[in-house]
């Protein structure tokens, strides 16, 4: 915020002029925000308490159903499973991204010739659109015995796997695609955080006879605390939004092992036309994301 002292009391005319200008500058965006954010949000909240249908049946009115949709979320197998799968997905993505991202950041945080090029290479999967990532990796995870990954397993005399068609492996497969796409970007964010750690600390550590591992645990990780929290929260929230791989590759299968929250709210609302139910899933999802955002504010606000 600007300091108050810098502001002189402006003549009324100036303020009036600026108010008018501000109104016109904000108007188009605010109309769009009302129509495409605020109204849909209000509809989501309102419809979540009704049995609203996409295509209303003749003679049947939308009725208020109270918490019925929310109760359904926690009692219907598939939707509950969608939340479970989504958490499981995040539980795979998040630790891998954080740990590997940090190690990778430390590994490329060297003044060696050409290291910048390697950083860009690690980042490059980010350039590949998720739909394409899904397509390419589905070929890697081909369930044929001579599929790419199965052939590699064969070298180590491991049985070929069904990958995306195996209820136990499908979700981890989908998670790997996302980790692959996303890791380099998180590495760069963490690399940025590393630059704020004073070199003196490492030199002091070296004088005290710290091993590389000691330095990593006692200097690097605490020094990265803020960046790690940021990465943690953004990866958690983004992984909760998983949709593309499911929609392109598995359609929620095999036996609902990859149904996720966003996929389920899409299916309930758009495919099955149950707007009320879909809205309730959406609002539950919103509350979840909001709680995580608030938690982040609390975590990062603590020692500032």
């Amino acid at each position: 915020m600007k300091t108050k002292g810098k502001r002189k009391t402006a003549p009324n005319g100036l303020i009036r002029g600026q108010t008018r200008a501000a109104f016109f500058f904000c108007l188009p965006t605010f109309v769009l925000a009302v129509v495409f954010i605020i109204i849909p949000f209000a509809m989501s909240v309102a419809y979540s308490f009704t049995d609203k249908q996409l295509i209303p049946k003749v003679g049947i009115q939308t009725t208020f159903t109270g918490l019925a949709n929310y109760i359904k979320i926690f009692t219907t197998g598939t939707t509950l499973l969608a939340f479970k799968n989504t958490f499981l997905y995040a539980l795979i993505v998040v630790p891998f991204t954080l740990v590997l991202g940090t190690l990778l950041a430390v590994f490329v945080n060297k003044r060696l010739k050409g290291v910048k090029i390697f950083r860009l290479i690690y980042f490059s999967p980010q350039v590949v659109t998720m739909t394409v990532v899904a397509v390419v990796w589905s070929f890697v995870f081909s369930s044929n015995t001579n599929g790419l990954l199965n052939s590699i397993l064969n070298l180590f005399h491991i049985e070929p796997q069904r990958w995306l068609q195996d209820p136990h492996l499908a979700l981890p497969c989908i998670a790997i695609m996302y980790i692959w796409q996303n890791l380099g970007m998180q590495m760069l964010i963490l690399l940025g955080g590393l630059q704020y750690i004073s070199q003196d600390l490492y030199e002091a550590g070296e004088l005290d006879g710290c091993s590389a591992w000691d330095k990593f645990i006692y200097i690097t990780v605490p020094g990265l605390r803020h960046t790690l929290i940021y990465v943690l929260v953004s990866v958690v929230i983004n992984s909760l939004k998983v949709f593309t791989q499911v929609y392109v590759l598995t359609n929620g299968g095999p036996s609902n092992a990859t149904v996720t929250v966003v996929f389920q709210l899409y299916k309930a609302g758009f495919v099955n036309g149950q707007i009320g139910y879909s809205s309730a899933i959406a609002i539950t999802f919103f509350v979840l994301v909001m709680l995580i955002s608030l938690l982040q504010n609390k975590l990062t606000g603590e020692d500032d």
């Binding site: 904000c26 965006t29 490059s124 739909t131 593309t244 709210l265």
Partner: protein, 284 residues
């Protein structure tokens, strides 16, 4: 310490580092290489190469057949045009309109400024996914299904972009604006002639964010396109991929062509690209 380390040990360490760098690089670039190289192979070749190392090598008969098939038979150009129109519309509108809000909030003084800022912060918590079904219903009511406007406009007002701009503009010294006001310039002129030229880096960052977002979006086009006429590239690829018979060569050619524009933007604007992607890490 470094100086105590013998030269040979140092060299050995260096070799180890580079070996590590290269091995890791293969994990990241392998699938991309595989995609691009396979897009030049006929289907039979892809299949016979898939169980060995040739999958990553330009091996056997290579040709542009997949590409010419994708362009002639798969309507690639139509989908490309759709994606391009939607992305350009979205980029232009999102980059400028949100900048106007950021400028007003950061540099103009008016009543209710603080309230608007808190509203934007509140809105930024709402994930697009949680309102998308009802946003679709609104777009349907407005008669915008199956139109470029319906594809591009609904996500233009974007709290995170507004916030980025707000942070940028409130850092610009107000003297510049005051001098211009004394010279009799209107706020529209000040914004266009003084503020925008001063804001090129942030404009580029937001434009690239908007580009990536729009170019790769799959869910929204799924909801608002009824048939192939307005289908965008990711959705067309998904449809091509889901067909009962998948010709992998064509799928890979289609995929490669879909990624090329992003690749070009990345190579041209490396720094901005990285900044865009990393700062859009949260919320969407």
């Amino acid at each position: 310490m470094r100086t105590a380390m013998s030269k040979r040990k140092k060299l050995l360490l260096k070799i180890c580092m580079y070996t590590g760098y290269i091995l890791i690089a293969m994990v990241f670039i392998g699938p991309i290489l595989f995609l691009v190289i396979s897009s030049f192979k006929p289907y039979a070749q892809i299949e016979s190469d898939m169980s060995n190392f040739y999958a990553f090598l330009p091996h056997g008969t290579l040709s542009f057949d997949n590409y010419s098939n994708v362009i002639r038979k798969m309507d690639f150009l139509k989908y490309f045009k759709n994606s391009a129109v939607v992305t350009i519309l979205f980029m232009a509108a999102a980059t400028i309109l949100n900048a106007m809000v950021g400028y007003a909030l950061g540099m103009l003084r008016f009543k209710g400024r603080k309230i608007i800022i808190s509203v934007i912060v509140a809105l930024s918590i709402i994930p697009t996914e949680s309102i998308i079904i009802n946003r679709f219903i609104v777009v349907n009511q407005l008669g915008l299904l199956n139109t470029y406007l319906g594809l591009a406009i609904p996500s233009v007002a974007y709290p995170m972009y507004m916030f980025l701009y707000y942070n940028h503009f409130r850092g610009i010294p107000s003297d510049l604006q005051e001098a211009a006001i004394l010279d009799g310039a209107g706020y529209g002129t000040i914004f266009l002639r003084i503020m925008l030229p001063l804001s090129k880096p942030i404009l580029t960052t937001v434009a690239i964010m908007a580009f990536i977002r729009s170019w790769s979006d799959l869910l929204w086009p799924t909801l608002v396109t009824r048939d192939g006429t307005y289908r965008t590239l990711p959705l067309a690829l998904k449809t091509l991929f889901s067909d009962t018979y998948t010709d992998w060569g064509q799928v890979f050619a289609f995929s490669t062509l879909t990624v090329i524009p992003t690749m070009i933007v990345f190579l041209l604007f490396q720094k901005h690209f990285v900044a865009s992607v990393t700062s859009s890490g949260i919320k969407g």
